[in-house]
């Protein structure tokens, strides 16, 4: 809360300063035109110099504002990762010390062990996410691609997500829209694709709120590419946010987002993985509160 307030003030200050300087330059330019208005050459030189000056100021201000935003997002990311790493660790440590120092009855003991397992899984997933973001951060293509059956990957990811979020049947459903007897085979890195699909499914579940209704479908788009669509009926995304959410470290501000755990890496990983496979990732939404649809489009393996 305080962080965004500070950011707003900084951005406002830089923006105002920039606008003021631009206004001064514009006024000087007009003055120059009025004073030199019959002098041909001087008038031209003046106008060009002022134009360069103004363009420079505009660029400089825009750059500064963007840098401030990036730095703040970076700080927010460090905080989020610190929290995501330390919280499960604190929990595991607390339960280990409890078991070490106290007599705990067998039912409670089992409960504590399950809690610790869940926390270690959470820790593992954060670490994986950070490592994968580092790996996919470079824009190069996947090295040593292998044949991957997308429907199979999607099936596995849905099963794992269902178990992790303790979902009941029907909350996440897989819809197979592939033509009868056809597979969707792509060339790529299985681990990366799994991570991308898992991120999309996890997001859909996390941002659904109380009522989870998620559909995952695999669709062929013509003869050359295939798409994985993940649809939810959750909080939706405003038009302005649709592109920003794929930026690294970006998290939608607001009440529900504050309740959802995350590092701001997930969708940037999805987009990076798509690009490394020669595909793309994008989001669509009718607006806030109306659910959203995420698509991961990948080229099919040439026959």
């Amino acid at each position: 809360m305080v962080l965004s307030e500070m950011r707003r003030r900084k951005v406002l200050f830089v923006g105002l300063l920039g606008a003021l300087l631009i206004a001064v330059a514009l006024a000087l330019n007009i003055g120059w035109i009025v004073v030199n208005w019959r002098t041909g050459l001087w008038l031209l030189i003046g106008i060009i110099s002022f134009a360069v000056l103004i363009a420079g100021l505009v660029l400089n201000t825009a750059f500064l504002i963007r840098e401030i935003r990036t730095t703040e997002q970076h700080n927010a990311f460090i905080h989020a990762v610190t929290h995501e790493l330390k919280t499960p660790l604190a929990s595991i440590r607390l339960y280990l010390q409890t078991l070490h120092q106290r007599d705990v009855d067998p039912t409670r003991r089992k409960e504590f062990l399950e809690t610790m397992l869940a926390d270690s899984a959470r820790l593992q997933s954060t670490i994986d996410q950070v490592l994968l973001a580092g790996k996919t951060g470079t824009a190069t293509r996947v090295t040593n691609p292998i044949d991957i059956d997308l429907a199979e990957v999607v099936g596995e990811c849905v099963t794992v997500a269902g178990r992790r979020h303790h979902l009941i049947d029907g909350e996440v459903e897989v819809i197979d829209r592939l033509p009868e007897g056809e597979d969707a085979v792509v060339m790529g890195d299985r681990e990366e694709l799994q991570a991308a699909v898992t991120n999309l499914i996890d997001n859909a579940i996390k941002y659904s709120g109380e009522r989870v209704r998620v559909a995952v479908e695999v669709v062929k788009l013509g003869a050359r590419s295939v798409a994985i669509n993940v649809r939810d009926q959750g909080m939706g995304i405003t038009r302005d946010e649709l592109k920003r959410i794929f930026r690294r470290f970006y998290r939608i501000p607001g009440a529900l987002s504050a309740r959802v755990r995350g590092t701001g890496l997930g969708l940037s990983i999805v987009r990076a993985v798509a690009r490394r496979h020669g595909g793309r990732a994008y989001a669509e939404s009718e607006g806030a509160g109306k659910g959203s649809r995420f698509t991961l489009e990948l080229p099919l393996k040439p026959l």
Partner: protein
């Protein structure tokens, strides 16, 4: 029974803390977010002896909770627990009114020891307030003068001179902090029970009256000294404290 409030949105940590604190014999309530905790603490003040407060809570964060809590005049001890352990965060917690700060992951025995420490301090404070009350009955002697606080008189060379209640109380507060400078605002608040922004000349008037009672030469005081622009200082043996 000592009652603690655990404010923590991470269910696992909240449950683990509850289990351990209950095993130590405390009564434990939990809240998942800042708003609920604040409501609980302000609607039922004095039912909670200590608050364990997480910083990164959804909605109102822990810093904001402790700030708002202090602004309502509540002085329930607050121990902040957080993954944010950088110096700036720790200092911010203290500035806003936290009593202690423990970074996560924490050591269970250290946490329990700190809780005990805070509760012990709280008890001392309660006891010392009672002692202070008892002090009211005492007597105090300096430089051939004897003040009897209960009878509100000053006795000097066998002659008793009455003092008013306010004069006695003012004198007692100055004597209690013998040798130290006491600000006018502090005296106003402690003796008259009024807010600091009230006119401080009241204090000056009473000091003049006290000087007439206890000093040999009220215009050249040796016991009730003025510290210019700040307040007053009581000195029992003027020779030592020039």
């Amino acid at each position: 029974m000592t009652r603690l409030l655990v404010v923590e949105d991470e269910e696992h940590i909240a449950n683990g803390l509850k289990f351990n604190l209950e095993a130590e014999g405390y009564c434990v309530d939990t809240e998942e977010n800042g708003e609920a905790a604040l409501r609980r603490l302000t609607s039922e003040p004095d039912t909670i002896d200590l608050v364990l407060l997480d910083v990164m809570l959804p909605g109102l964060d822990g810093f904001e909770v402790v700030r708002r809590l202090r602004s309502t005049g509540s002085f329930v001890p607050v121990l902040m627990l957080t993954a944010r352990g950088e110096t700036g965060d720790v200092l911010r917690g203290f500035e806003l009114g936290a009593d202690d700060y423990l970074p996560k992951p924490f050591d269970l025995s250290i946490l329990l020891a700190r809780i005990q420490g805070i509760l012990r301090r709280k008890m001392w404070l309660a006891n010392s307030a009672a002692e202070e009350f008892a002090e009211l009955l005492d007597q105090y002697s300096f430089c051939g003068r004897r003040i009897d606080f209960s009878k509100q008189v000053m006795e000097r060379a066998g002659v008793e001179q009455p003092l008013t209640l306010t004069e006695t109380t003012l004198l007692r507060h100055l004597i209690r902090r013998e040798g130290q400078v006491v600000r006018r605002e502090v005296l106003l608040e402690e003796v008259w029970g009024v807010r600091q922004d009230t006119d401080t000349r009241t204090v000056d008037n009473f000091i003049s009256r006290l000087r007439r009672a206890i000093e040999d030469e009220p215009s050249h005081p040796r016991h009730l000294l003025t510290v210019r622009g700040v307040g007053y200082r009581f000195v029992s043996k003027p020779g030592d404290a020039s």
